[in-house]
């Protein structure tokens, strides 16, 4: 059996695990990121965690063939460099080389959404399918594209920015500077904004009973209101699914993957989200749904997707 380390670098925690070549996690743990520290110290802690886990799993670092890191930000994965990470305040940080120095094994880095995409493709919801697009609905809309089992990142890993494709010209302002981005309509942040706006317009809505303080609105609020039969909430959910369907259908028409996998908190809604979304997307698929069907699924690995995907990415990149 071959083993790899997967590392999920977050703003709060560094999570890591030892993963076998089939995508099973043998052991995992986490340590605080301590993001105010110099990157060298963070890199050292990442390596230390991997060495520690290898020891605890009785494998020995010499049997870990490579380590993969999923990191937020713009990553030049071929060079192992974090070009820019807002959250950690990093700029051109040679993270792969730094971690390798302490861990003594080959280290590879990719974007965290890409790592999750690889994880879901290799061992999760899209396991059966050669090609899949992963869309994560969180603070923003991130994504990863796996074509014939291989991660597609674009030139210098700057592609796959699926959240920053416009679905409504001139629409909502996006954090990227454009107007009308998929992210500005389909992220959890966008859903929260849509819910709050609807509440402000309808003071009679049951949403006010579910969430008396408007500052507490989250990605679940509108779905809870809709389930309780509130018309305003139902309209918010319907519109949200409509926005999501446009972006999903765009990706389906461009990549015509075997599957599109949705991740992020909103997906906890399961069929409440998926059933109407599938219906809406199927009407927008070019040439219909029978020829080259596109399965629409929710992610199955949860928080482990990034870790498993990072390990798989290391396996593929090291060719080992």
């Amino acid at each position: 059996m071959k083993y790899y380390a997967g590392i999920d670098l977050g703003g709060t925690f560094i999570k890591a695990g030892i993963v076998d070549e089939s995508g099973n996690i043998l052991i995992k743990d986490q340590v605080p990121t301590g993001r105010e520290r110099p990157y060298g110290e963070i890199a050292k802690d990442m390596a230390k965690l991997v060495l520690d886990l290898a020891g605890r799993a009785d494998i020995g670092i010499e049997n870990i063939r490579a380590a993969g890191i999923g990191s937020p930000g713009i990553i030049d994965s071929a060079r192992g460099v974090i070009m820019y990470n807002n959250n950690l305040g990093w700029n051109k940080v040679p993270l792969a080389a730094e971690v390798r120095q302490y861990a003594g094994i080959p280290v590879f880095v990719t974007n965290d959404a890409n790592a999750a995409a690889v994880g879901e493709s290799f061992a999760g919801a899209a396991k059966k399918y050669p090609s899949s697009v992963f869309i994560t609905l969180g603070t923003g809309v991130g994504g990863g594209i796996v074509l014939d089992g291989k991660l597609f990142e674009g030139n210098r890993s700057a592609g796959a920015e699926i959240g920053h494709t416009v679905i409504r010209m001139g629409g909502e302002k996006c954090t990227c500077g454009r107007r009308g981005c998929f992210e500005a309509y389909a992220s959890a942040t966008a859903l929260i904004r849509q819910t709050k706006r609807a509440m402000e317009k309808d003071k009679e809505s049951a949403l006010w009973r579910i969430c008396p303080n408007i500052d507490d609105v989250n990605g679940k609020t509108a779905f809870d209101g809709a389930a309780a039969g509130d018309r305003t909430a139902q309209k918010v959910v319907k519109n949200y699914i409509g926005y999501l369907a446009e972006g999903v259908a765009n990706l389906a028409n461009i990549f015509r993957p075997n599957a599109i996998v949705l991740g992020g908190g909103v997906c906890a809604q399961g069929d409440t989200l998926l059933v109407p979304l599938r219906r809406a997307v199927s009407r927008k698929l070019y040439g219909g749904t029978k020829y080259a069907p596109v399965e629409l699924l929710t992610a199955s690995l949860g928080n482990d997707a990034g870790l498993i995907g990072a390990a798989r990415f290391a396996q593929q990149q090291s060719g080992n």
Copy 2:
């Protein structure tokens, strides 16, 4: 030197050429398609034209390693089958097998926009770049995606339908059934509609002098009016470039290719189109233009792109 045949199947003409392994056309010619005939006869004429050209070029069919066909419609390129072609009234036509029967060499089929994309990537405007997206602005908006020198078609060749991605939810009705598709805003057909609408709203516009009969409006009319200083025409051109920029930027953010190549009649405008388009797109590129730049170019092979690309596709598919 290795030789391949490239065939461009159109509704009016079958064009074919003998192309060397560097993408140079040795000889080319065309015959009428006669699209009302059974497909077998059309296939026979395609083979006959190739055999004839091989003879005239003094190469001999035994030295032509494979033939490639660029065809309109939905093509299952792995199976060599035209799944659906509206223009020829074809449904599941096994074109590759049929032509091979008469020509006696391996035959491969891809979509015509894909063939042009491969042509421009291999021997045209994007020759220097490993990855490029080709966008053709004609009756519709077609496209082809070349990643690391290889055509990307999606599952069963049903992807790369870049014209059928929504840039303006709820907007103009598209031929595909959706509303607000890139094609409904950026095709030559869309530009003509936009020009006519502007003329109908402004009876004083100089566009009426340039084109007294509104039925004669073409993709050049608005550009001619803008060059003559007509404000209404300038607005049409400005808006059109704005629409085009949204779709181009979306593709840039998804694929982050080295280059995006525009083809179709509108591109005859050259810098009048390209300069403002580059400016608009650059503001929409995620993460800016310096890291992983995307060149915006016009096609350079003209009508030969499909023929050269079909030959190159045959070369790649035959592995020969």
